[in-house]
Amino acid sequence: MIQNNRLTKEQYGHNFSDIHPPFETKDAALVEANRCLFCYDAPCMKSCPTGIDVPKFIKQITTDNIKGSAHTIFQSNIMGAGCSKVCPVEKLCEGACVYNLMEEEPIPIAKLQRYATEKALYNKWQLFKRKEPAGKKVAIVGAGPAGLSCAHVLSREGIDVTIFEKESQGGGLMTYGIAAYKVTPQFCKDEVDYILSLGGIEIQYNKELGKHITLDELRNEYDAVYLAFGVGLARQLDIPGEELEGVEDAISFIYDIRSKGFDKVPVGDKVAVIGMGMTAIDAATQAKRLGAKEVTMLYRRTKDEMPCTQEELDIAMLDGCEITWLAAPKEILGKDGKVNALVASVMKLGEPDASGRRSPVATGETFTLEVDMVIKAAGQMPFEKLVSANGLQHKSGKISLNGNATTNLDGVFAGGDCVNGGKEVVDAVQAGKDGAAAIINYIF
């Protein structure tokens, strides 16, 4: 049975509390900061998509220069506070830390980054100053990580930025698409406010491209346009029964948790989650934390090919989610229009596909799971219609770039998930910086 309000307020509070708690004290942060070797041409820095000077910001924590530390981080990554909570650091900076080569725990870079950036956020330190107004204006579509990052760089250069956002809040997937135990809605709001506190950036909420505004209007009214509207639609399973009540899209499931409140989001007794990416993990763990009795994750390949990190998989397993490898959904069965079972094919690995991973092939064997809810997290689809309707060159909906964040349309730039099809927040922040650099080059 699918129902909401399964738990007490205390249980929700416990289940959705911060999964990576911050340092309790300055001394605790210093113990770790002082372990940092201050590597030269540091592997952590090279492994950060935004190239944060990690040794420098950690050194600055040890010298009591927290403002300097936060500035070092934000200079490379204006969403450095959020990234410290949501980045898969085990495969980025912390994964590259040289301590791993000594078989020692890596420096907790994310936790130290959180230490410095949260101080800046909550003390409202204004660490950047806008240049004199340049008399130029740029429109950005989408107030997610790519859009905000681009806007901040442009505004620092004295350019006036207007962001058009279809939702009622900024932050994009940071605000709407990530598990609540990683970032709270309040934090996301604070982070957006902090970015905007620089000045020169206006966000017009509830303004959707193609609905309330057109690309032609933006191109006419602004010196340049940056498209950072992300991806949206969940990939369809294209199997019978997908229309049944109880079949949900992971993104809207997570969106509801983030926007409505824990007790307002219904969840089944027995839930199947399709996919093994970060979003699938976030959906499965949160279904469990909302009170689902059983959660089973199905992935058509094996652990070796899974898109999520081991750390993420561990969260799901520690939450008690069942993991079924080599299983692809075949049909969803229902009764009275409601889901009551999922039929899955047993797969085996065949020849490598375009991604270089061995592709799953059905063995012909099937099994049936009794479930009352199916959450689809098999990836997201780009806004292909929107992209092609506006004459943008694209590859299956993903906007094509001619190098330097430039699209085929004059004065129109793009970056983030709408270009790459969906990567980490930190990748989007870097895309925003690249876009800003290209725009500055274009308009001056």
Partner: protein, 422 residues
Amino acid sequence: MADLSTNFLGIKSPNPYWLASAPPTDKKINVLRAFEAGWGGVVWKTLGSQVKNVSSRYSAVNFNGTRVMGFNNIELISDRPLDINLREIKECLKEFPDRAMIVSLMADNDRKSWHELIKKVEDTGAHGLELNFGCPHGMTERGMGAAVGQDPEIARMVVEWVMEAATIPVITKLTPNVHSVVPTGKAVVEAGTNALSLINTIQSVTGIDLDTFVPNPYVAGKSVFGGYCGPAVKPIALKFLATISQNETTRKVPISGIGGISTWKDAAEFMLLGSTSVQVCTAAMKHGFRIIEDLCEGLSNWMDEKGFATIYDFIGKSVPTLTHWEDLDINYHHIAKIDQDKCIHCGLCYIACEDTSHQAINLEYGKPYNTYTVKDAECVGCNLCQLMCPVTGCITMEEHRVAPEYINWKDWQAKGLPLNDH
């Protein structure tokens, strides 16, 4: 199991570790706790004229998250009544007759005061006296402490007074607040002191509070120069000690080494440079008296490994290896080698050499890990990279003699061999 027992001018102690004259040796309660913990002896905190102390008294230098790399005090000599100190010394001697009891003294600057003080102290049954010619603060302004130790002739005069009265061994403690400890050391040995101890604390300002702008330690909005000690001063102490061990006059008397000794390794180093006993204070103030256990066990295990049955087998052993620069072998050369299996690619060797030394390390770019190798022809063998490397044994210095024969700088110059070849 090596024998750690020490005989210092007839003053016997079960091990060479004495607590230095300082707050840990100011009262019976502390000294008994130290003896119970296993300390070989104590130098009772300096007795002399009555003084009044201030609050606060200590400050420290921390480094990279480690507390008390250096320690600083502005405390004076014992501020307790003399008769109480004398009574407690006697009581401690009675309870632990097998431990060394030396009493530090700093009398007013006249013969009579010294004679009276020595008589009273000897009456306790103490085994030896240590003359405090080193206290760098508070007492110097009254013509005592370092004011005596900094002037060889005054020091000689005071030691002569002391030797007229003393019937037990006299150790003279030297101040490091001089360009060389040898002149005063020589003067007091010539005046008859039975032994030397060094170093006392080094005048210092440990730091300034960046909010109040007042240096520490803080006393009602002001501060004064204090006496610096702890691990930070060890290298300076070893250097002063070596000069005393090298001088033909001062090396005739036994030495009690002091200055930043925190571990058995430190103690072994002081002894290798000529100390018979060693004195500890800051390490005990940081960790308590329990550190004596490893001080003894570590030294004993090392002695066993080296085949030293008693401490007299290695005291002074390193003194002959300290030579003059112009006697060093110019043909000796070694080159750094990086063990690629141990390397963690931190780049610390590279940046140290590239920015501040001889550009002798090659960087081959990798993502995320660069590969670092030594350019043998550019390496001058300075050790910098090895010192900066965080992995023990990753960078080794391999010997590549320029030529087999020994040649020093003077001969090199005399033969007109090429200079500035690097």
